[in-house]
């Protein structure tokens, strides 16, 4: 047994028939290409590029969760020693953005430097550029902002109630709008209510995933400088070079040909370095001063202003048969995306595609909400869209095991998805390996499994009836939202804004790999679709006047 040891082994005997292990370089424990640079301290992180005359940028931030900005008085700060320039929202060419606009997903909802309103504690309203960091810090203290404090909301379920303070003007009901149509993303597969009614046990749970800081050892930042020929160079710690370049190009209204981004050696990211907050402002600083500008978060900013992995709240209800088969699973999920969308709306799409976890369950139902609250916007982190719900699912699986009196490992193997099974997002499973992972972990820990489950395989037992779409799927119009159009471009009121020149526009592609015949159309002859009330059901009145053009995945595709 391997308990109490720190081993590492490749279990080559498992799935051996699916691999050719005789390759020259693949499979070798080759040293990292970058390792000598790391151990000598020579690996060039973005801040390891020295510039003469480097200026330092720091932001003036909101002390309030939610407030209107009445006036920003920079006069005193401008006279402080070393201050070169103070930047406010007026200086930003395109002062409203959403990160995924480069993928045509979501409305522009976040100012670079807020001019009218702040929606979280720490939101920037101005940036000071000074000769030294200490001088920038001192001048930040001298910027006077008149605030009108507004009521705020911090809990996801409170935020969805009628009358809650409206956090984000693009989504006044505090929920992201999916497909121009619903205030949540739906997953409907089979007939949940009927299956729950027929189950031997109903197991319920509520789970709360905490907000988490990515905490890379290198904080987020960028250095910009003038290059030749009217170009700007930007050294950056981004996790996504062209994402950041595209964002800078959009926000600064500069063609990508005038931007030269250099990065690639990054002191940890874990998802927190996708947001492209620093690059546009550093470059803008250089444009306004003609000098190299560094914009770097200190650790305190990294922890409280830097976007965390957002909190998630999940409610799960399972219908379980006495023998441990899970026949129904319902999710209601709330992603706390903070004040602005960033990447949260996408994480939910990814998360919904992941439900109900690695199990074959014939009836699955999910309503997942992307909720705006007056806290630091959330963003990606290792396992984005999945970690929180996996915590919920696997904690819940133990409750189910206890309810039916089963060994928790056996419950997983019994319900595990296998090759050929139909998944709730209506694609056939292949290349599965959950059963084998369960078996190996149990074997090492000395957890005894029944002979049946020891003999189980991901390659057998799936498909057949398990590979069929449900005969009937109950659908509904719950959470219908009016006033948002499922148009193709993520701009308010159809206003034209330049498409990012930096991101190559993906061409429409042929349909994805062969999928089973589409189902999900309302049933012809069966019981009327049940209409379970979701936990929150915002008003169906038009959310706002005027045409809203909204991009969704499907909208984009039809463009």
């Amino acid at each position: 047994m391997s308990v109490g040891t720190n081993g590492f082994e490749l279990r080559k005997e498992i799935f051996a028939d699916e691999r050719d292990d005789n390759l020259n370089e693949i499979g070798k424990r080759t040293r990292r290409q970058d390792i000598e640079g790391h151990v000598t301290g020579r690996s060039p992180f973005y801040d390891d590029h020295l510039f003469d005359g480097l200026l330092h940028m720091r932001c003036v931030r909101s002390p309030h969760h939610h407030a209107r900005v009445r006036r920003i008085d920079t006069a005193a700060a401008e006279r402080m020693p070393g201050v070169v320039r103070i930047v406010t929202g007026r200086d930003v060419p395109v002062n409203l953005n959403t990160l995924l606009s480069l993928l045509d997903f979501g409305l522009d909802d976040e100012p670079i430097l807020s001019e009218a309103k702040v929606a979280y504690k720490g939101e920037p309203v101005a940036a000071v550029i000074a000769e030294t960091e200490a001088q920038a810090r001192a001048a930040v203290q001298a910027v006077r902002v008149e605030w009108e404090v507004l009521p705020h909301v911090l809990d996801v379920e409170e935020a969805l109630k009628p009358g809650a303070p409206s956090v984000n003007p693009a989504y006044p009901k505090n929920a992201f709008v999916y497909h121009g149509k619903y205030d949540h993303q739906k997953l409907r597969y089979g007939d949940l209510d009927r299956a729950l009614a027929q189950a031997d046990h109903v197991v319920e749970g509520r789970y709360q995933m905490s907000p988490i800081e990515q905490a890379p050892m290198e904080t987020c930042g960028a250095i910009a400088a003038q290059e030749q020929n009217g170009r700007y160079v930007c050294y950056t710690g981004t996790q996504a070079l062209f994402f950041s370049l595209g964002t800078a190009s959009k926000v600064l209204n500069l063609p990508s040909s005038r931007l030269h981004f250099i990065g690639g050696t990054v002191g940890g990211g874990f998802g927190g370095k996708v947001d492209s907050v620093h690059e546009p402002l550093a470059i803008l600083g250089t444009m306004l001063t003609g000098r190299p500008v560094k914009f770097q978060w200190d650790r305190e900013e990294e922890m409280q202003v830097g976007a965390p992995r957002g909190a998630e709240r999940w409610y799960i209800t399972d219908g379980v048969m006495a023998d441990g088969r899970i026949v129904a699973r319902r999710f209601t999920g709330y992603f706390d995306c903070g004040a602005y969308t960033r990447l949260s709306s996408y994480a939910i799409i990814k998360g919904v595609g992941h439900l109900p976890g690695p199990y074959t369950i014939p009836n699955v139902y999910a309503d997942v909400y992307c909720v705006y609250t007056n806290r630091t916007p959330a963003t990606a982190m290792r396992g984005f869209g999945i970690t929180g719900v996996d915590f919920a699912i696997e904690a819940h699986m133990d409750k189910v095991a206890e309810t039916v009196g089963m060994n928790p490992v056996e419950l997983r193997i019994l319900n595990a998805y296998r090759d050929g099974d139909m998944k709730a997002h209506r694609r056939v499973a292949k290349n599965c390996a959950l059963v084998e992972c369960c078996q190996v972990a149990a074997e090492k820990a000395g957890v005894r499994l029944s002979p049946d489950l020891l003999a189980a395989s991901s390659k057998t037992g799936g498909g057949g009836a398990r590979g069929q779409l449900p005969a009937h799927t109950a659908t509904d119009q719950n959470g219908r939202v009016e006033g948002y159009s499922s148009g193709s471009y993520a701009q308010k009121g159809g206003a034209s804004a330049p498409a990012s020149p930096a991101m190559p526009t993906p061409m429409p592609q042929p349909a994805p790999p062969p999928a089973p015949a589409p189902a999900a159309s309302p049933p012809v002859a069966s019981a009327p679709p049940p209409q379970p009330a979701p936990a929150a059901q915002p008003a169906k009145k038009p959310a706002r006047s005027g045409a809203m053009r909204f991009s969704s995945l499907s909208g984009f595709r039809r463009r």
Partner: protein, 340 residues
Amino acid sequence: MTVHKGRGFAAINYPIGMNLGGDPSQALVHSNPDGKFTVALSAIDLGQGMKSVTRQIAAETLGVPIADVYVDTADSDTGPHDMGSFASRGTHRMGNAVIQASLEARAVMLEAAAEELEVDAGDLVTDGQGNIHVRGAPSRSITTMAAAQAAQFKQGRTIAGRGIFLIPLSDVDPDTGEMSPVTTFAHAALVVEVTVDDETGEVEVVDIQSAYEVGRALNPGLVEQQLRGGAWMGMSHAAWETTEPYYPARDHGPVDFNHYAMPGPGDLPTHHISVLERPAEDGPYGGKGPGEMCANPMLPAVVNAVYDAVGVRIDELPVTPEKVLRGIRANGGAKPRQAL
């Protein structure tokens, strides 16, 4: 005082890559006149090993030794477009792009060699040691350096290749959620052992027995780095970390590493890792992406282990001593189960 032992189990799968808006990566590969190759990317190495894994993939595909390949990333003037290093997409997407680029470069290299050897390029193979020879006749060979020199100075060929890998945009049905989220999944299962102090609520993670299925382990050293470090992070998420300790209230948010707690080197459990390799059909040499999913099973496994130890279910992360202690009090004392 009593310290109770408990064990917890969790199993997960994890989608590799993203599909929103289409998910492309590009790569360029070219040879110097001495047959050494440069791979130009705009992908990011933030510690996960992007430079190293693409280097191995390029060397394998080109048929040259690893020392003959250098990966240069990320400069937007030279590295072609890539979505970025997130969503466990790096190895899978960029690896495939590097294979395509390397295949194109390799084909030119073999044509150049074929012209020098006066044979058909289709009859040539590489030995992975810097030589190209006629299949079945190792003596009829030319070095990759000689082939590259001939291509550059004599034949006027560019030994270079372009690669792109694109997972097309997936439509998402608003009413049912039907979609093609990803093409492959990684898997994991593990058993965690903890001890719980029933007077203080303190939880110690003692041991982890894990099984991770990662597709082909392209470099076991890199895979182990991810799994070991990722499990540590998962354990940290489970029982230490949060930016908002009194969520949803925003009070007492940590602003330094003394208050943002993570397990220290004195908190480490033993962790025995087993790697399973079921190659992904469309993965580069079957590779998936171990980097993100490795943390995930730790969160529920720790929660389940605490329940096993003292009968307290913590449904709100992180599992702080305070929550455990409150749970024990609410139950009228520890209720050890030791059911696993």
